[in-house]
């Protein structure tokens, strides 16, 4: 197995009396696609929120590239190389696709406030360099036609694609995708799956995704982690998970 890119060790999180995560532990290997599945309220989104610093763990560790990150504030996490998308696209809806992607490049920009105000010179040069990176993403995701469209006016499927673009613009080594394909039609899902696989293949990005469409998860994920009521109940390649009795029970309910 490739070296561990991200490791969760006995991660626990609770809100009052509700245990969102109970001593969850697993490894995400470098360059793999790991899917997290589980019924509603199983703690999937809480897990992502804990990784990118929205939530503080009550106990346990999150180790990203040999660094303990569970106490790093959310706004610093992207600079480590972790980007994420949200269940409901969290974009600047009044800005264009291009501006949204340029904004995501912010973490890679070095021009200070003064330099930006003068603009000509270093700021200008840097702007072109980042625009080029953004244009490559636009080309990659085939969103040329909506480059200058205001994001808020776009259909849902395209907004999801722009959000993936925004995550890509941060040039992460780990991408957390929270239900990237919900609310999409079959064709949009196919496109999105293709983009995820292409990102993975071309840039070697490690991908952790939450997804409900089981067929899709089984097709694209290398490994699957199953959560139920905040606990990890199974972990393994898709073929094992499919036949795991505990998973079937959690998903289909028990016959009484």
């Amino acid at each position: 197995m490739s070296p561990s890119h991200l490791r969760l060790h006995k991660a626990s999180l609770s809100f009052g009396g509700i245990h969102a995560l109970k001593e969850v532990g697993f490894d995400v290997a470098e360059g793999e696609i790991l899917a997290i599945i589980g019924p509603n309220g199983a703690g999937k989104t809480s897990l992502l929120n804990a990784i990118n610093g929205f939530y503080r763990l009550d106990s346990g560790e999150i180790i990203f590239q040999d660094q303990e990150i569970s106490s790093i504030p959310a706004h610093k996490v992207p600079t480590l190389g972790i980007a994420r998308t949200f269940q409901n696209p969290a974009l600047y809806s009044g800005l264009t696709t291009l501006d949204n992607l340029m904004a995501a490049r912010h973490i890679h920009m070095h021009t200070g406030m003064l330099g930006s105000m003068i603009y000509w010179g270093f700021g200008h040069k840097e702007d072109i360099q980042h625009r080029h990176a953004v244009e490559e993403i636009i080309d990659f995701l085939e969103i040329e036609a909506i480059r200058k469209a205001v994001v808020g006016a776009l259909p849902y499927g395209l907004r999801k694609r722009v959000e993936l673009g925004r995550a890509l613009a941060m040039e992460p080594t780990l991408m957390l995708l929270d239900e990237p394909m919900t609310g999409m039609n079959v064709e949009e899902k196919e496109d999105m799956a293709r983009f995820i696989l292409d990102v993975h293949e071309l840039k070697g990005t490690t991908i952790m995704l939450i997804e409900h469409d089981m067929g899709l998860v089984m097709d694209i994920a290398d490994r699957v982690v199953v959560l139920d009521f905040g606990e990890k109940i199974a972990e393994g390649p898709p073929s094992d998970i499919r036949n795991n009795p505990q998973v079937i029970k959690a998903y289909l309910g028990e016959a009484h």
């Binding site: 244009e135 040329e144 036609a145 292409d198 293949e201 071309l202």
Partner: protein, 644 residues
């Protein structure tokens, strides 16, 4: 003088040599949001390397290479590379299914296939077993191709790296191949999706292409500073004739859109000097322009409302071949600067010297509208088998009903059956591997001239304009043996704002054409109010003598475009509108002819008797189940000889 002797590749090489060492732009492609310019020298190297690469991999003179992909610089380079090596290009439309692709590739015996991207490669992989002759499938867009390890697939750039440098100077070898070509060599196979049976591969020679572009150029000269946006499918004859030929023969700059979805926007950015849209697109554009104006600010709206009538007036003078008086010219000049040019620029149309339309007839309203805005639309008529357009409206001689006059050295005639025949240097070389179909498509006259049977019915008017009526098989025969086109007459009548529907009658039992017409209540009502004609109901309005006179003018207008035997001799204005609820029309507002013939048999009979009036009574069902009767009198209007 037109000399269609050289190949497209030779013309191209001539242009390369004349622009070599300059920064003259040959192509542009929008990439990463920026229009990237490519000079003739750069283009030359790309074509040379691809061509030599293909030859080193076994392409021989006379071989076919199929290309399937979106319009792109690589598409063009691949096509030129094949033609330079003496091969013929077979274009496939990007939306073909794998079996369709297999049929064409197999039928033309292609030895290589150039497939744009992953999607197209997948189609060919699906049918790989059926294509033993294909040595390689070459792709130029490598996105998503990383995971493929089939040795059948090859990257465009790898092909370019294939040629053997030990065989001598690459420029010399490449140019010697081009020089060896002759005008009669096939340049392209255009597979036409025949309405019946399998597609047929029309073989178009280099001379055909060169002739066509030079003949068009005599009417509408092209310059090497002109910009074209390549968006028509290059597999379609019009795409090849309007993009590839002008580029190689006239040095026109070709611009390739960023993606198929951005074509509209890219046209706006480039503002091409010439362009062809089909008639449907022009029609939707009218609606879009009007909507844009409504959304605009009050100043723009006021200027538009002020100057549009000026545009219409000036256009009317031109349509009547009169000189536009100085005052109107001056006003139009202001209108152009103030509204029309800025408005057209929103759609990339402000620089268009030549704007063409093909396909179904465009309504005079649409032509007038664009002419008023300063964009003279002109019809092209032709077919794949005559290398695209064979007839064209001249700029100063646009007739609404016609599809134009023959281009220089081309001819148009009407056969005894009323079929449109075309001949000239653009006539194709026959269908590939199908002499039966070729013979069936050609007519050899007593002077041994070959003519293409178009399968279309038409006639030539006194000014030498061709009027297209319908497909020959859809023409209906009268008892006199003459034929007429219900589609054409009904369609043209409906162009009138006062007519909502028309039904033509006439078959082998009757010897002339008659029509049942329903008036457009709203428009005719408004007209009547303006004229001070009082009316109460639809029935009342429809039977007013003034309304009959109004419609009569429209019918005469249409009759003027028809051969005498096919003119409308009598018509009646129906006392009611055709109604979908009564089963007279489909929900998509198409007439249900057979039902109507039966229902209105009484009316129809009176159209073929000497009567001038007809009493009819309609049974009406009320909602409570009772039945009532409405009596009305319909006037039958006769037009002597259908004459004007």
């Amino acid at each position: 003088m037109i000399k269609p002797t050289e190949t497209l590749a030779q013309h191209w090489l001539e242009k390369v040599h004349s622009y070599s060492g300059t920064s003259k732009v040959a192509l542009r492609q929008k990439d990463f949001g920026i229009w990237q310019s490519i000079t003739w020298d750069e283009s030359y190297l790309q074509v040379r390397d691809f061509s030599l690469g293909l030859v080193s991999m076994g392409l021989k003179r006379g071989d076919r290479v199929a290309i399937i992909g979106d319009n792109d610089r690589e598409y063009l380079w691949a096509a030129f590379g094949v033609m330079a090596a003496g091969g013929a290009v077979v274009g496939l439309f990007t939306d073909v299914t794998p079996p369709e692709a297999a049929y064409v590739v197999e039928h033309c015996d292609a030895t290589f296939v150039v497939a744009g991207d992953q999607e197209q490669c997948d189609k060919l992989l699906d049918v790989k077993d059926e294509l033993p002759l294909v040595k390689k499938v070459i792709y130029w867009d490598n996105r998503g191709m990383w995971g493929y390890d089939d040795p059948w697939l090859m990257d465009f750039r790898d092909v370019q790296g294939q040629w053997d440098s030990s065989l001598g100077d690459p420029d010399e070898r490449f140019e010697a191949m081009i020089e060896a070509g002759t005008g009669s060599d096939p340049a392209m196979f255009c597979y036409t999706s025949g309405t019946t049976g399998l597609p047929k591969g029309a073989v178009i020679s280099h001379s055909n292409f060169v002739y066509a572009v030079q003949a068009f150029g005599e009417i509408d000269p092209l310059r090497d500073t002109d910009d074209h946006v390549s968006f028509l499918p290059l597999a379609w004859i019009a795409g090849a004739a309007l993009d590839i030929s002008p580029h190689v023969v006239n040095g026109v700059i070709l611009n390739f859109a960023e993606s198929p979805e951005t074509v509209r926007e890219n046209i706006r950015e480039i503002a091409p000097d010439q362009l062809l849209y089909n008639s449907r697109l022009w029609e939707t554009l009218v609606a879009t322009i009007r909507a844009r104006i409504l959304d605009s600010n009050w100043l723009n709206r006021a200027l538009y409302d002020l100057f549009l009538p000026v545009g219409y007036r000036a256009a009317e003078f031109e349509f009547q071949h009169k000189e536009v008086p100085l005052g109107w010219r001056a006003l139009r000049w202001i209108g152009n600067r103030a509204v029309f040019k800025p408005l057209l620029s929103q759609f990339g149309l402000h620089k268009a010297r030549d704007a063409y339309t093909t396909g179904a007839a465009l309504s005079p309203d649409v032509i007038r509208f664009f002419r008023a805005l300063g964009l003279p639309l002109r019809q092209i008529y032709g077919s794949t088998e005559v290398t695209g357009g064979a007839l064209l409206h001249r700029r100063e001689d646009v007739k609404f009903a016609s599809v134009g006059e023959p281009i220089p050295e081309s001819h148009c005639a009407i056969s005894e059956d009323g079929e449109i025949l075309l001949s000239g240097p653009g006539l194709f070389q026959g269908y590939h591997k199908d002499s039966d179909q070729t013979n069936a498509a050609l007519y050899i006259d007593s002077q041994n001239t070959s003519w293409l049977r178009t399968g279309d019915a038409g006639h030539i008017d006194e000014d030498g304009h061709l009027i297209y009526l319908d497909r020959l098989k859809d023409m209906i025969e009268l008892s006199s043996g003459e034929k007429y086109s219900p589609q054409f007459i009904e369609g043209r009548l409906k162009f009138s704002p006062y007519i909502s529907h028309a039904l033509t009658i006439g078959d082998t039992r009757r010897n002339y054409v008659a029509a049942i017409i329903t008036v457009d209540f709203e428009n005719v009502g408004r007209w009547a109010e303006k004229q001070g004609v009082p009316y109460t109901t639809f029935t009342d309005l429809s039977q007013k003598p003034e309304v009959y006179e109004l419609i009569r003018q429209d019918v005469e207008e249409v009759n003027r475009t028809l051969p005498e035997s096919g003119r409308v001799r009598k018509f009646v204005l129906l006392h009611k509108e055709f109604d979908a609820d009564e089963g007279e029309m489909t929900r998509t507002r198409k007439l249900r002819r057979r039902f109507l013939f039966e229902r209105y048999s009484e009316v129809i009979d009176s159209l073929y008797s000497g009567e001038t009036e007809l009493q009819i009574s309609d049974v009406v069902k009320y909602q409570d189940g009772r039945e009532g009767k409405i009596d009305s009198t319909l006037r039958i209007e006769s037009l002597e000889n259908g004459a004007a």
